[in-house]
Structures are given as C-alpha cells and as structure tokens.
C-alpha cells in the first residue's frame, strides 16, 4: 500500500509538470490559433536561465524560478512578435505558423545546445528544497509538493483570469475572432502579447521545476514535455485549463503505474494510445467545448 501511495504521488507530481506545460501550449492554441512546435524550447530555455541564475549569480531558489518564468514568458513574446505577428498580419493561416514554429524550434534548440555546451546540467542540491516530508505513512520530496501546488495555483489563477475577468473575456474574444474583437474595442495586440507571455511563463515554470526535480537541465528538456504536454491538452480539451490539469495528472499517474505494475516498455505506448482514442472518439477532449474549432 505504501508503494502504491508513493507511486501515486510520483505520478501526480510528474503529471503536474505535463499539465503545467500543457496549459501554456493550450492557451496559445485556443487564443492565438497556433500549434506552436517551438513551445518546448521555452521550457528548456527557462530551465537553462534558472540554472545559470543559480550557478553563475548565486540567486536563491525563488529568484531562480522567477528568472525562468520571466525568461520563458519573454522568449514566447519575442518568438510571437518576430515569427507569428507578420504571418498574422498576412492572414497566413495555421500551416504557415506551424512551419515557422518548427524553424524556431530548431534554432532555439541549437542555441540552447551551445548555451549548455551540449551537456545535461543539474541545479546544485543545496540550491533548492531537497528534503523529504513525511505525509502519513509516506515520504514525499519537497520539490514534488512544490510542483503539485504550482499546478494548483496556476490552474486556478488562469481559469479565473480567463473565465471571470475582462482580460479573460478579451482573450476569449480574440480566440474566437480577432477582427470582431477589435471592432468590439478589444486591443487585440495587447491580448496577443499577454497570452504569449502567459503561455511562455507557465511552460517556463514547468521547465524550471522539471529541470530541478529530474536533475536534468538540457536543451532536450522541452522535447519530452512537449509530447506529453500535447497529449494532456488533447485529452483535457484545448480551451479549458481544468481539463488540461486533470488530464496531465492522469497521464503522469498512468505512466508511473504502467511502469510499476505492467512494463516500462509499454509506458509510452499506453499514453499515446490514450491520445489516439481521444483524438478519434472525443476530439474536443474531456472539458473542451463542442463549438471550439481550430483545425
């Protein structure tokens, strides 16, 4: 039973990383209509920036998280303005944006490789909370608790922002029809910048937390999150952060339990089979609205 509970928490924490990443990915897709293949690089860069903030400048853990989150956010804004804004102005459509995002993915990945000298780095153990916390009969690493709480805060915060505030209404309006939103008095440019920043920042948070938890800060970090985050978004529904959060957690738990009780070899197969089932049977995902269409 203890093993089951420990693995449940392990899966929950792992899934929280997928979900955090997926929230940003889904936000860009639902609001800006971009299937952004470069999104994983925001997480890689955030982790790299956070690492250097600690390693080179000796910043404390919260500051390293802030550097990573802000770095991910600003990088997303930069990519949007350089790569996607000109396409948006020309109404180039989703395919053009996808191709552009692939180009950014390759460029940012390569530069990240140089920034890390192609090596896998790790935050010094003394730079983050690395103790075990007793919860009932099990011991839980502090970083897992921080990751799970981060997802909770981000999910609630972004859900409230989108559903309950005027900014959120503007984001939904731009997501539905940018021109109509503009005619209705919405500053579409500002909404786009804010959305890109939020998306990059949440993915950046996933990158820094993932880099710390797994002792792996490298230019390939975002690629792993990208595939699983995409699965979380598809299963959860593109336009609802609650769905992404729940789906991400479920994917993490399933992944851990399949490895524990069935076979490691089948772990990713089960995850992607689930993705396939949802794409066929329920393409709008668990919480996605029936009227939401992008493809």
């Amino acid at each position: 039973m203890q093993l089951f509970l420990e693995q449940l928490v392990n899966g929950w924490a792992l899934g929280s990383l997928y979900a955090l990443f997926g929230i940003g990915f889904g936000l860009v897709f639902s609001t800006l209509g971009i299937l952004n293949a470069a999104h994983g690089t925001y997480a890689s860069w955030a982790a790299i920036l956070g690492y250097y903030a600690v390693e080179r400048f000796g910043l404390p853990f919260p500051a390293a998280i802030a550097v990573g989150v802000l770095g991910g956010g600003f990088l997303a804004v930069l990519v949007d303005q350089i790569g996607f804004q000109p396409l948006r102005a020309k109404k180039a459509g989703m395919l053009g944006a996808l191709i552009t995002s692939i180009a950014f993915w390759i460029i940012l990945d390569s530069v990240a490789g140089f920034a890390t000298q192609q090596q896998s780095l790790a935050f010094p153990a003394s730079s983050y909370p690395n103790q075990m916390v007793p919860i009932g009969s099990i011991m839980v690493p502090q970083m897992q608790i921080i990751t799970i709480l981060s997802l909770l805060v981000c999910t609630v915060g972004i859900y409230v922002l989108i559903q309950k505030t005027r900014i959120g209404a503007a984001m939904r309006a731009v997501g539905w029809n940018e021109v109509a939103a503009g005619l209705g008095g919405v500053d579409a440019r500002m909404v786009i910048l804010l959305t890109a920043f939020l998306a990059g920042a949440t993915s950046g948070l996933a990158g820094v937390l993932g880099g710390i938890s797994t002792a792996n800060v490298s230019f390939t970090l975002g690629e792993g999150l990208m595939l699983k985050g995409f699965a979380a978004v598809v299963v959860g529904g593109f336009d609802d952060v609650r769905g992404t959060a729940i789906a991400g957690i479920c994917l993490g738990i399933i992944e851990v339990f399949v490895a524990q009780y069935i076979s490691t070899a089948l772990r990713d197969g089960v995850t992607y089979s689930l993705l396939l089932v949802f794409l066929i049977a329920r393409p709008r995902g668990l919480f996605g609205s029936a009227s939401f269409m992008r493809a």
Partner: protein, 390 residues
C-alpha cells in the same frame, strides 16, 4: 690455372662489390619499403552535439591529442602525418551514415572512425564494408560489430570488467539480495546486467527485482521508489549515463542507505560535477582513470590533455586517443602509399596496440581485449579513487 685464378678473383671482386653495395643500399631499400611520406586524412564522425555530446567531446579531444602527438614525434615515419577531418552526426544514425558516405567519396580519406551508440555503429558497418574503407569504432559496445578486415573496434566488450567488479562486490559486501536497473532499449547494458546478475546468483545472491528504464527517461523518482520497494541490500545500475546519474541521485534523495554500484558511465568528471555527493563511494569498473592509471604513457597523456583542454581526461578521451594510435600503427606498417584496402589489412593484422594507456592492449579478431580493469569510486571531494568497501 691462372685463368681459373683470374675468374675466381673476378668473382670475389664482384661479390665484394655486391656486398658493399648491399650494405650501402640496404637502409635505402628499407626506407623505400616504409610508409610513403605524406598527409593521411582520417574521417572522424564526431558526436559533439546531441544527447551524448559530453562523451563525444571527450572522444574527439583524445583523438586530437593523439594526432598532434603522432605528428610531432614523426611516429609513423619522417614526413608522414595524420590529419583529422570531422563531420558531425549528433549521435543520429542517418547523419552518421551521410557523413561516412561523404568520407567514402573523398579519396583523400584513408580511414574512418565513429560511433558511441551501437545502433549507429550497426548502421555504419555495412556502408564501410561495401565501400571497403577502414572503420575503427571508438565507443559502441555491442558484441559482433567488428568485421575484419574493414571494421575494427578499440572498445572492450561489456562483460569482463563488470564480472571482475561484481565478483569483488559479492565477496566483500556480501549482499543477500540485489535489485538491478537496466536499460530496456540498450542491448549492451542488458548484456552487462545479465553478466553481473549471473555472478551474483552464482554467489547465492537473490535477485529481488529488475527495474527497466529507457535511455530518453529523465524522471527517476518513480523507478527509484519501485526499486526501493523491493527492499534490496544492494542496487546495481546498468544504464546509460544520464539515467545512471539520475537514478543514483533519486535513490539517495529518497533516502536509500544500501549499497549502490554502477558502470563506467559515471566516471567522467562532468558527471560528478552534475550529480555531486550522491555519487561518492559508488563503485564502478573503469579501464582508464586520470587519477588511477599509472603507466608512463597514461601519465604523459593525462598531463598533455590537462594542459591543452584544462580538464582531466576521462575513459572516453582515452578511447579516442587509442583509436588514432591503432590507425597510425596500421599506416606505419604499410609499404609505400597505402590504399584503403591495404590499410584495412594492416589494421586487421595488428595483434597488440603498441602505444596504449592500459599497460598492454591486445587486439583479438578486430576487437580490443582489455585485460586489466580498475574499480574506482568518486571521493566526496570529487576525485576518482580506488574503491574500498565500507
């Protein structure tokens, strides 16, 4: 009679002249039979980017040092020099094959060397065989890769050094139960795991569990929990580098106090820099260690490497270095201007690599046969020291 004397005298003079001429021309004839002076290009398929770049850079630096050393000492003969021509593969099989094909097309390239990953080496092998170009493998460990005369390997087959270490661990630590970590997607590490498991089971040590992971995995909290759940006296980690470091860090972070052992993948200094204290005291078999290797050639290599690259060489750098000396030795033993086929035959006939860092390095059917392995461990302050049981 006088006529006979005259004939004998004439013959004697002829013999004397011939003998004198032979004595004078002998060295010149030997010279003509040596390697023709010139620049010999080796096509080096590098892995300086991609997931194995840390190791890839070590192999490459070791090779660079060897080439400069060989040239500076005129090791292959006066006027004969080696030149490295690099093409990057990023540990990707398709890119590696493309690089090899380009080397094949370049007639200046006399031999090639490549590959850390066995599947990449497996993809390169038929290309080298078809093109009849010597290919020296510097990192891939899967058995059966060498195929004489064209494909040779300076890598030791997995098994002997792992067996030596495991026997010592079983004798000194006397564990009753062991749980193993192994790469589900890497045959070489599965071979190492099976060799170690057999030694342990022959010694009466029970297998409590086998936890499989994948090379691309980065989160090892759940696998560490799984292994600790089997409650073993000892955990042996037979995985590739990034997982090995992650697993050991996760085990210690979760409070595992039992014995842990690993393979030589945790021996490079960047691994200790990355993982730190959790690696201290974890034994691993190693063929070369900057802190433990004591032969004169090894000491010189370590000094030169440190001067040039501002860091200590690891086992991979030593392998890159060895690959260059194997090719140089092959070239040195050829006559005149060698062809690729001729060089392949020369390399294939090498029984011992003359210049090596391992206190003797025989070649057996195209594969290096390392006979002396060390058991090392990281000290808490980040030095590789001889492992002592605690």
């Amino acid at each position: 009679m006088t006529r006979m004397n005259t004939v004998f005298a004439g013959l004697s003079r002829a013999v004397a002249v011939t003998a004198t001429a032979g004595a004078l021309l002998g060295p010149m004839q030997a010279k003509a039979a040596a390697l023709a002076p010139g620049e010999y290009t080796i096509g080096f398929v590098t892995e300086n980017t991609g997931p194995l770049a840390a190791a890839g850079l070590s192999y490459y630096h070791g090779a660079q040092l060897a080439v400069d050393e060989i040239n500076a000492a005129s090791w292959m003969g006066q006027g004969s020099k080696l030149k490295l021509s690099e093409k990057e593969s990023g540990s990707d099989a398709a890119r590696a094959v493309q690089a090899l094909s380009q080397f094949v097309a370049d007639r200046n390239v006399i031999a090639t060397t490549c590959c850390i990953l066995s599947p990449v080496a497996g993809a390169m092998k038929p290309v080298a065989l078809n093109a009849k170009i010597p290919l020296v493998l510097y990192g891939a460990t899967m058995p059966g890769l060498p195929q004489l005369p064209y494909v040779t390997s300076i890598v030791g087959l997995p098994g002997p050094q792992e067996v030596t270490m495991t026997k010592r661990l079983a004798e000194t630590l006397k564990p009753k139960t062991v749980t193993y970590f192994v790469n589900a997607d890497n045959e070489a590490f599965q071979g190492r795991f099976k060799a170690a498991q057999k030694v342990m089971e022959d010694a009466g040590v029970k297998t409590n569990g086998v936890v499989s992971i994948l090379s691309a995995d980065t989160d090892f909290t759940a696998p560490a929990t799984q292994a600790m759940g089997t409650n073993p006296d000892m955990i042996m980690v037979w995985t590739t580098q990034t997982p090995a470091g992650g697993i050991i860090a996760a085990l210690r972070a979760r409070g595992y106090k039992g014995h842990v052992s690993a393979s030589d993948v945790i021996s490079p200094p960047p691994m200790f820099k990355k993982i730190g204290a959790p690696l201290a005291g974890v034994p691993f078999p190693v063929l070369f260690s900057a802190e433990m290797s004591t032969t004169a050639a090894a000491k010189k290599f370590i000094d030169e490497y440190q001067k040039r690259f501002k860091e200590l060489p690891d086992a991979y750098a030593a392998q890159g270095y060895t690959a260059m000396y194997l090719i140089a030795q092959g070239l040195k033993s050829t006559d005149g201007k060698p062809t690729r086929e001729g060089l392949a035959q020369a390399i294939a006939s090498i029984k011992t690599i003359e210049h090596n860092l391992y206190d003797g390095l025989p070649m057996k059917e195209g594969q290096a046969d390392y006979q002396k392995s060390l058991i090392g461990a990281w000290s808490p302050d980040g030095k590789v020291v001889a492992w002592e049981p605690k």
